[in-house]
Each structure stands twice: as C-alpha cells, then as structure tokens.
Amino acid sequence: MPGEMDEIVAEFLVESYESLDRLDRDLLALERDPHSREVLASIFRTMHTIKGTCGFLGFAKLERIAHAAESLLAGLRDGSLSITPQTAGVLLATGDVMRLILRQIEATGTDGEDDHDGLVEDLGRLRGAPPGVSPAVPPAPGAQPEPQPVRSGPDRSVGLRSAVTETTVRVDVNVLDRLMTLVGELVLARNQLAALASDRADPSLASATQSVDRITAELQEGVTKTRLQPIRTAWATLPRVARDLAVALDKRVRIETDGDDTELDRSIIEAIKDPLTHIVRNAVDHGIEGPEARVAAGKAEEGAVIVRAYHEGGQVTIEVADDGAGIDLNAVRTKAVELASVTPEQAKRMSEREALDLLFLPGLSTADEVTTVSGRGVGMDVVRTNIERIGGSIDLSSRRGEGTIFKIRIPLTLAIIPVLIVTSRDERFAIPQANLLELVGVVPGSIEILHEVPVYRLRDRLLPVVSLARELHLGGDDEESPAGRFLVVLQADDRRFGLLVDGLSDPSEIVVKPLGAQLHGLEVFAGATILGTGRVGLILDVVGLAARAGVVGDVHEPLDAERPGEVLEDARALLVFADAAGGRMAVPLDLVDRLEEFPRAAIERSGLHEAVPYGDRILPLVPLHELIVDRRRAPRHAGEDMPAELQVLVHRRGEDLLGLVVGRIIDIVEQPAELQPAGRPGVTGTMFVQGRITEILDLPGLLEMREERRRLDVSASAGAAS
C-alpha cells in the first residue's frame, strides 16, 4: 500500500532528522570527552538504527554511508581507533550529507543518484581500510552479526526509551494550531457569556457559566501544554554552529547550556531560533578572543559561551553570556557617528546604556573587518525586531575585558495573554500584564515637570509619566480632571514609566488577534481582541508606546543611579490566598486573628448559615464568594467540588467574629501598601503582589456586609412568618 509506505517514510524522516541532531551533539560531547563509552554507544546506536531502517526501506545509498560510518564507529568503540579532530570532522560531515539525502528523499522519494564515494572512502581511510574496499553491497540488516555491546547499560536505556514512546503520539502541528485557535474562540465566547450572566441574576445560568468557565480554563491549559516544547529544540544546533565557527576562526570555544527543559510555545521556539543563532555567532566571532589574546589577558585559552533559559514572572528569560573581550563602547560611538546616526556631541554625552543601545542600530557592526560569518549586513537590529515581533525584549550589558551578556525576555505563548483593561476618555485598551509592574493612584498636582518631562515621585524615584490620552490624541486635558487618576507603571526595554489613564477595570485573559495589514504601521498597538462586551478592544504595545512618547533613552539616568535599595516604607505583611474560583486576593495580616483549617464534617448548619464550634463560641462561616460576587467568574455553588478541608481566615472585631472561607492560602509577603481603589464592595483595592494583580479585601467592610445581610435575612423570615 503506497499510502502506508509514505507514512512509514515520513516517520523515518522525522526520526532520522532528530537522530542526526542528536548525533551532532554526541559527537561534540565525544570530542570533549573522547573516552566516554556512553556517548560512543549512543552514536553507534543512532547510526545503526538509521542503517537498519534504510535497508528496510531500500535507500541503498544512505545505507552505504551509514554502514561505512558505523564500521568506523565500531573501531572507535572497541578501542582499536581513537577519536581525532579529523575523525570528528568527517563524522559531522557524514551527518550533513545524510541530512541532504534525507531532504532529497523528502522531495523526490528516492535517495538520489550520487554514491558519495568520496565520503565513504574518507570514512574507510580513517578506519584504516585500503581505499576502494568499502563495502559496495552491505549485508542485510540483522544478517550481519552486530557487535552488540555486552554491558547491559545501553541496552537498558533502549528498553526505557521504547517504553516512553508507547505513551506518546505524534500529532501534526497544524492540528494543534487549529485546536489553539478554537480554544481562543472559546475563551472569547466564555468572556461574553460571563458578562451576560453577571447582568442577569439567574442562578442556573450562573452555575452553567461557572462550569463553562472551569472547563474552558482547563482546556486552555491542556491545549497550551500540548504546544510546549523544551527550548532545547531551539538551541540544539548552537554547539555545532559555535564549533564550526571557532574552528574557522582558530579559536577555542566551549558552549554550555542550562535550563534545556524550559518549555515554550512552539511558535516562539521557531521565532527565536534565528536570533539566538545570530547572537551566539556574534559571541564567538566578536566576543571571544583568540587563544593568545586570552592567555595574555590572564584568561583560560578556551572561551566560554553560556546559554541559559529560565522562567521568570510569567515570561521566559534567555541569557547568552560570553567571557570574551566585551564591547568597546568608544568604537561603537565612533561607528555610530560615522553612520551619522548620532552627532559627535550626542555620542560624547551618551550614557553607557545608551551607547550599548546603539548596537541595535541598522548597519552598525564593530567588527574590524567583515569576516565570512559576521558583518554581512544582518545585524542586531534584525535580532531585536524579530524578538519584539513576538512580544519579547532584548538588552545587553557588557564589561570591557570580561564579557557580554545578552538577555532576551519572551512570553510563554502568543495566543492567549493576561491583560489589564484600562480606560482613557471612555475608550478601553488592554495592557499585557507581562509589561506591568504596579498600579498607583495619583491625585491632581502630584505630577511634576522636570526638565520639561512630566515625572511622578514613586518611593523616592522619578518615574517619567506618559499620558495615554495625549499620546493617542484622544482629546481632553489631563490637568483639568478633578478626579484622581491612575498610573500604570510599565516596563519597556528595561526602563520604567508611568502611563496615566482615567480608570482601571478587571484584569482578564484575552486572545490576541492581529490588526489588519492597513494598520501594521501603528507601533503603539500590538494587536486587537474581542472584549467581553463583544466590542473590539485594542492591545497597547508598551515598547512602541514608550518609543512614541520618547521615554526610552531619556530621563532614565537618574533613575538608574537611584536603583539600589528600594525603600520599602509602609511595608505591610499581607496574607495572599486564592478565592474559590482561583482569583488572587490578599488581606493585611494584622487583621487576621487566626488561620484555621476545619474538616467539612465539623461544620454545623443552622438554617441557611454554617458555623463551627470555636473555643467556647460559635464561629459563623461565610464563603468568600457569597459576599463578593465576582464579575468575571460566576460564583461557585456551595458544596460543589468543595475540598474536604476548609481554609478559614478568622477576623475578630470586638465581640464579632467572622470566618471567611477561602480557596487556598498562597503565601505571606511583605510589601509597601501601594493600593489602588477598586470598584466593588468588599474590596479595598488592587495592588501588585509577586508580580500579579491581587485584590485586597476589606475585612471590616465584609464583616459589616455580613451583618447587614443577616439583618435582612432575619427581617425577611420574620416577615414571612407573620
């Protein structure tokens, strides 16, 4: 059956590409540690598997190469040969040729006309075989008594691997993409449904909405997970790139990776491959010095490029650090003046940061000469553009003589992001939470003008202020507004600024949709989304907004100088917890009398009310969601999915006791009270806690709400009884 055969070949191709990537890595590892039997066994196994499958599928030319390589590897493994740079080079080249043949198979279905005699002879020569004795017709796989490793180690690992593959399925990425799009649509529909449900006091609608909400959240998480790949796949080729480049430049470079298993959406992995490769090439080419220069500078002969990835605040940070010569800022300045990007005066006045930033100018390279690998006109400006296109940012720091560090920050996924909705002149805009630092309420007159730049003093630091209404020409005058406003403190390219807006709405999750081609020139918008109301909302591009407002590279210098030791005045301990629907909330710790955990069984019911014995008293229990009706999430029905243990915050005022049933205690944190007023009863305001928007509960207010409700209940039942 041809169809079935095609599928087998397709699978063979995918597996073989992966195997060859592993082969590259293993060969580089072998060069480093020539006696590692484990690595040798892995290489041998890879080649053997490819050879076997080729034989089965009838790709004789590929099989012949694999066989010749395998014979050489057998010699290495049994110790009759030892690895030399030539051997490693030829084996790497073998991998490259095999990749070419695979591509040919992919395109034409055959392994081509070329017999690759030269390569086969090279492989034979390294094995010590006389030229021309390379096997023309290799024996059928399995027929040849394979020198299988006697030790059980590698065999066991083979067994383990096949056990793993049985629990996994290969899925076409298009299917995953389609699923992600559908989940996005579902999230939007859920938002609209929730908005409808909150307008109608219909318990059954609220309950159904709650179920849809929960399922949507879980589905979204699940589908997002299926698209995650370890970042390893993005940088698998880097060691090879660095090695080849180092050999070409007569340098010695070691590449180390850390955080290989850090997971990212596959679309982002694809998008960062090229920028990462470019940065690593740059590090090897421009960063790492030649061996003599390194020794003269008192460094190890071998330079190091360290690539690390880690999760940080809902984003992934990738660092590329080298221990090379660092960046010559004066050379950068001179070059920028030559390119007429800046005037000599500007260049002289520039801070270190600003000078480093010049590297991202189009056409700027500090390479003394154009080498074969760098200085080809594709510069750091393209790298920055590519990273910003996926909502990321890049910056670098460098010390002359010590090295350079590139830091790339990228979002986990592109499709669904948490945002804060702000309003300005009755228009609503979404701000990605990844850019958000904190929210500050400002009163009229608290914004000063310093060197013609509006600034706000935030904990003794000057924060440049950008008025959203002014930047977007929305009309009106910020100064005339009698009411207080809000500063949304944002991060753009390592600089902070406060965005002045009229109002804040609930944080929510949105699906990013691209703007039409006609609007692509608008750098202040990252895209659009459908809001819960069904209306289209624009998503602000924080970096673009900062650039438009001229914040970046302007008044940040005094800020940087004042950075160390942020003052935590008014620091207050907060108890952070999740409500039943998973939203983050907190209460000032000094208002919490005790934290208790009660088993469900201990709860006594009297009429509508629940209570537990508490010392010699009765503690009335109130589920938080009964007092605070969440506008985003319908309240969960009591008893449904309730855990066996209830987490209760006990608040005491005088003789009054209140036991507030919350979802889950998260943490206790100390942090300055930078509270923003919020719109709903029972909530004092919102603030940033551990980088996330958190609602601060008004415990005294809740106690009163509860008393009020009880009075109403009593009078209602009294009225019904009479």
Binding site: E185, L188, E427, L472, H473, L474, K513, P514, L515, G516, A517, Q518, L519, H520, G521, L522, E523, V524, F525, A528, T529, I530, G534, R535, V536, G537, L538, R548, G550
Partner: protein, 151 residues
Amino acid sequence: MKQLATFTVDGRFLGVDVTRVREVLRPQELTRVPLAPPQIAGLINLRGEIVTAFDLRVPLGRPQRNPNERPMNVVVATEHGPVSMLVDDVSEVLDLDEEAVERPPSTLGASARDLIVGAYKLDGRLLLELDLDAVIANTGPSGIDAEVDER
C-alpha cells in the same frame, strides 16, 4: 455582462464588483483606532474576526457623516483578508453591459478620480464603479507611516 453591488455615499451612487463582496452588515459597533489615518473608521467584530472598516467619504473627499447616521458595512475580500467599507445605504445588484462603460466625469476631484474604474449612465443616474484595491492601497501603510513619522 458585469454585476455590481451598488450603494450610496453622500448622494453618490457607487458600485463594486459583486464577486468581491463577502457580505453586507447592518450598522456595527466600531472601535476607533487612535493615530490611524482618517480613512480608517475603526475596527468591527465580524463573528470573532477583527475587520478594519474604511470610511469611503474620506477618500472620495465627501464631508463627514453626521454622527447620528450609522453606516452600513459592505465587507469585501482583499488579498490581506476582509475589510469593511462604510456606506450610507445599500441598493441592489445591477447587471451592466461592459460596453457601456464611460470615463469617470471630470467633475470628480483628481484624487477621487483615481479610485474610480469607470462610470455607467443609468436612467438619469450616474453609477461609479470603485476600484477596491485603489481604495485600500490609498489608505495603505505609506499613509500610516507618514502619520507615525511626524513626531
């Protein structure tokens, strides 16, 4: 024979190739796009798809629409996906004899004339056929860049 979907914009009788029309929508809620060129009236939600809406009055050099009058949407296909054209009223689809096409009248302004492919005389009314791609291109990235670069 040629079929044009016809509509009016400030009294002018206009038509576009009917094969390019995806659908006609009653007035939709528009989200204004700050800093966008004046031709771009805003964004509409077309069943989850975000579609840019063009106000045909601007490229045609007609006075602004009264804010109380809510425009109809003629959604047309372009190579960059659907866009909506805001018009005052939508009329029928007309069968036209391609032989009868005439040059656009010189009374049209020069910029408007670039957007018109041809004119048809019908019972005392003049039907102008719009060049959709010219309308879109007229409001394309170059116009936006000029706006953004002004700082």
